[in-house]
């Protein structure tokens, strides 16, 4: 259920990017000088930060943190030679 809600959040934020209703609008001027479309997308940027905060809180891959203590054991890129 949590995964579904998070997926829904990402999908809704993505859809919110396609603001066709603002396409031909310049008014109202937010703070007296920001055209509506520009102010909307500035707000959208803040929304993205909020979305990422929710993801970090609810979907952080904790299992990766165990790697912090594991440490790298040298360059093994030559292991692929075959």
């Amino acid at each position: 259920m949590k995964e579904f809600l998070l997926f829904l959040l990402i999908a809704l934020v993505y859809l919110a990017h396609q603001d066709l209703w603002n396409w031909g609008k310049s008014a109202p001027l937010v703070f007296g000088f920001l055209p509506a479309g520009l102010a909307y997308h500035a707000g959208y940027s803040v929304l993205c930060a909020v979305m990422m905060a929710v993801l970090v809180k609810a979907a952080w891959p904790k299992r990766l943190e165990t790697e912090e203590n594991a440490g790298g054991d040298g360059d093994k890129d030559s292991a692929a030679r075959s």
């Binding site: 603002n22 396409w23 310049s26 001027l29 803040v46 930060a49």
Partner: protein
């Protein structure tokens, strides 16, 4: 003269940081290329952001806004606010984990090991290097242009720092910083650079608003009230297909070799937490003032010859000389922050994925590998500098190449997703996607050079109902299905290649699957 002095003080500081980093460095490739995977949380964010922001974020954004209006912010910046943090969150953290666990320093090394195949890594190396080189060249060209633009003598209208000297200055300082300091030098310089260019937009808006004869609202209302300029404060001339297509372009970010290397360099995975939250805000802090000033420049300055110089013109006309110098240093920071990482990434890829992988390290040792990397940095920067000088008038070719590179790297992202999250993906699927992307880029370049704007390349049906599958749009770029950008068929094609060819070929060995999926610590969702 004052702006020039300020900028040279700034450049001296960057070179000094490189020399301090040199004293702290160790003589092994992991330290030189990844600062011993020791980058802390705040520095990681500042450096990752500097790596990804080029001069385009300041000069290109304002120039595009001058030409096309406020829609540029939604199309390029806010789409990045959505996509880039998500890719860092889902892909960057997993890359960090496989790097930490298995010692990978480049994406290519990971791909080779994940699919137990040399050739897939070599193919991806070739494509990545081909797409990265134009980016490096255009960074040096950008540096030369900015230094020439900022140093124009008002009396003679001639630059105190000519283009060639400007390119050389940027190339030498970047080379010195990376040559001596490696990743540590680049990252330390990024702290200073990112703070400087994050402050740039806000200071520029404050200073310019104070000096302009009219208020912001007067200029914007004037633009909105005139039928000829109304499109600048709306999106009425921006095709929705192009606006939507662009949301795929930021997928390129995590596929840039220098971005992946930054992900490998974090000390802890928790460094990604603050980064992904702060990233959209940082994009807004840079892009919003620059886009706004670009539109404002149209109202305040009228027609200008070079729209990409609109911000430089506003600074020149409406800010004191010393401040113009500091703001100019902010622009140069954006140029050099990303250029340093591009140079380092090229050097890392060549040293690790070619030199060391094909026996150089065994033959010459780890110590010599660092010398080789340093030598490569000098050679590659010198070549980029000479090309930047020789082909100055043809910079448009490199701008087009960079546009291709963004689409190309974006179309390679399904390969990375498959490597990290899909056990059943195979080397053949990855190879098919890589060759498809390379072939599509070559085809696009060929079509663009042999056809003119408006030509239809492939159409289904006839008359008004015809579907123009591929055609050249009014700006001369190849477009897809009545106006979508070519990144759309490239990403779709790449996904299909990975998917279908993987399913049609033998799965990877159980050992490889166990290695990357069945351990407790790096088990990405299958």
């Amino acid at each position: 003269m004052i702006p020039v002095i300020v900028i040279f003080v700034y450049l001296a500081v960057i070179a000094l940081i490189g020399s301090i980093a040199y004293k702290r460095g160790q003589d092994n490739t992991e330290d030189f290329f990844l600062a011993s995977r020791s980058i802390g949380s705040l520095v990681f964010f500042l450096s990752l952001f500097a790596t990804n922001m080029t001069a385009f974020a300041i000069l290109g954004s304002s120039g595009q806004a001058y030409r096309r209006g406020i829609g540029i912010y939604g199309m390029m910046a806010s789409s990045s606010c959505f996509v880039i943090p998500l890719t860092i969150f889902f892909i960057g953290t997993r890359l960090w984990a496989v790097g930490k666990k298995f010692g990978h320093q480049t994406q290519v090394s990971f791909f080779r090991d994940r699919w137990e195949c040399n050739h897939i890594g070599t193919a991806i190396f070739g494509l990545s290097a081909a797409m990265l080189v134009p980016y490096m060249i255009i960074s040096i060209m950008g540096g030369g242009t900015v230094l020439a633009g900022i140093s124009v003598n008002p009396a003679t209208h001639q630059p105190l720092i000519p283009y060639a000297l400007g390119c050389a200055t940027v190339a030498v300082v970047v080379t010195a910083n990376v040559f001596f300091g490696g990743m540590r030098g680049a990252v330390w310089a990024n702290i200073f650079q990112t703070i400087l260019f994050l402050c740039f937009g806000l200071v520029a808006v404050a200073v310019i608003s104070h000096a302009l004869p009219l208020g912001f609202s007067d200029y914007i209302s004037r633009l909105a009230g005139d039928e000829k300029s109304r499109f600048l404060v709306t999106r009425e001339k921006m095709p929705p297909q192009a606006f939507w297509s662009y949301t795929l372009i930021p997928l390129s970010s995590i596929m840039f070799p220098h971005m992946a290397m930054m992900c490998f360099s974090a000390r802890r995975v928790t460094a990604f937490k603050r980064t992904v939250i702060a990233y959209p805000i940082a994009i807004m802090v840079i892009w919003l003032p620059c886009v706004f000033l670009g539109v404002l420049g149209f109202a305040a300055l009228g027609k200008i010859q070079d729209p990409d110089a609109v911000l430089l013109r506003l600074l020149h006309d409406y800010s004191p000389a010393w401040l113009a110098g500091i703001l100019g240093a902010g622009i140069i920071s954006a140029v050099m922050g990303s250029d340093a990482h591009q140079v380092l990434a090229m050097s890392t890829m060549f040293t690790k994925d070619v030199f060391a992988h094909y026996g150089g390290r065994e033959k010459f040792g780890e110590h010599r590998a660092v010398h080789f990397a340093r030598g490569f940095i000098v050679v590659v920067t010198l070549i980029a500098y000479l090309v930047a000088l020789k082909l100055k008038e043809k910079h448009g070719i490199f701008e087009i190449a960079v546009r291709y590179a963004f689409s190309g790297f974006a179309a390679m992202s399904p390969v990375m997703v498959a490597a990290l999250f899909w056990k059943r993906s195979t080397k053949w699927g990855a190879l098919a996607a890589t060759l498809f992307v390379a072939a599509f880029l070559v085809w696009t370049a060929f079509m663009q050079s042999t056809h003119k704007a408006g030509d239809v390349l492939w159409q289904i049906g006839a008359g008004a109902d015809a579907l123009k599958v591929f055609f050249l749009n009014p700006t001369g770029d190849v477009a897809f299905c009545n106006g979508y950008m070519t990144v759309v068929p490239m990403v779709l094609g790449s996904i299909l290649c990975v998917l279908l060819v993987s399913l049609a070929t033998r799965p990877p060995s159980q050992a490889a699957i166990d290695k990357y999926f069945d351990t407790a610590s790096s088990r990405p969702a299958a």
